[in-house]
Symmetry: C2
Subunit: 225 residues, 2 copies
């Protein structure tokens, strides 16, 4: 992981614990609401009444809110990166399908996320949207290469769809294949409950020139050039 | 577009209009709530109180709800495909970044979606998650090839990240490049507000053998073989 891009959080560990517990619960509740509103068949009057309630809650939350996106901070806890808005992994993002709590490292050193993708992730009827698989694999391959010490920006992502990916429980696996200077390659796949590989992906990760110009990289440039 | 996979809706046009208006408003409200809960800085007591309210609304919506995902139906209106759960384009999916209302066809026949991606779509600080761009391009390229008469399942998606994609207003463009029997190729890109191409993608679309075995394809097999 490269921490140089990120500003340190001013939170204490205790404050971070409490914030994360409360915000994690709010995010989980919002995710459940999103799923329910997608599938609901209540009378339209009731749907309209709920809509008005949702709008009121939004107003309450916006009485004090950050402008723009959350960005990324270094947290107070060991090796903690607080990218809580991240679209795939963020603790505060109800769209995020991955959760750090469900991440493991398997016997071969692969990064593994076990997920359950429901109705919100559908593409073809009953199947995971191909774009969702691509999105999750992009995050996973970037993490796998970063853990192995490789640079972390995706340069190219190639996704092969081998067979349909059913909604439900799935396993995403990612691993670093090679690292050479400013470039690295990571691979990954998706397994359905029967252990079939439904999707495979390869990512080329690079340290782009615009990132090299960032002050935080100045000292490390030589090791990537 | 191939309609053969989908079951016809039993709705009348009037019922569909009313449903879509009410459900569209509920979805928009949920999307706004998701954005607000990501960025809120209200006191934690208030965040907890809102969480409890959100949970109550979810319960109300689940008193009557479809089991599983929404799937896809043929709608009562002309050429209408009701894939309202679709993760990228679904009218009832609060995660969906594309909206059919914001789709245009440009002078060169490209399918264009103008979007505004906010804090919910973040990857690196201030930037669109690379996986989000990949996800949206997968949907767009599939649509472009389907409009041109090509088969619609992604076989391979390759995404090239040319420069950082800032959060905010963006233009996604997709077009059919070639169609040959059971295979077709579509391309697309992402433009930032200055007109720079930040991401390019190429998709290979195929009619997979498992789809060929589907009864609805039996009559059309010969035209793809």
């Amino acid at each position: 992981m490269d921490f140089a891009f990120y500003t340190p959080s001013t939170l204490t560990s205790e404050e971070a614990d409490r914030l994360d517990r409360v915000h994690g619960a709010l995010t989980a509740a919002t995710r459940a609401l999103a799923d329910a509103q997608l599938r609901t068949q209540v009378e339209l009057d009731e749907a309209e009444a709920v809509t008005a309630e949702v709008e009121r809650l939004t107003e309450r939350l916006l009485t004090r809110a950050q402008e723009g996106s959350l960005g990324t901070e270094l947290g107070p806890r060991e090796n903690e990166i607080r990218n809580q808005g991240n679209a795939v992994l963020g603790l505060r993002n109800p769209f995020a399908a991955f959760s750090e709590e469900r991440r493991t490292i398997d016997d071969e050193g692969r990064v593994v996320y076990d997920v359950e993708l429901g109705a919100l992730y559908e593409g073809p009827p009953g199947l995971v949207h191909g774009g969702v698989s691509a999105m999750l694999l992009d995050q996973l391959l970037g993490e796998a290469t970063a853990r192995a010490g490789g640079p972390g920006m995706t340069g190219r992502l190639t996704v092969h769809y081998r067979r349909p990916t059913p909604l439900g429980k799935l396993r995403f696996r990612g691993w670093s294949e090679s690292i050479q200077g400013r470039k690295s390659i990571a691979k990954g796949d998706v397994l359905d409950p029967d252990g079939n590989v439904t999707v495979e992906a390869e990512g080329l990760f690079i340290l782009p020139s615009w990132a090299l110009e960032h002050p935080s990289w100045t000292d490390r440039k030589s090791s990537f050039e």
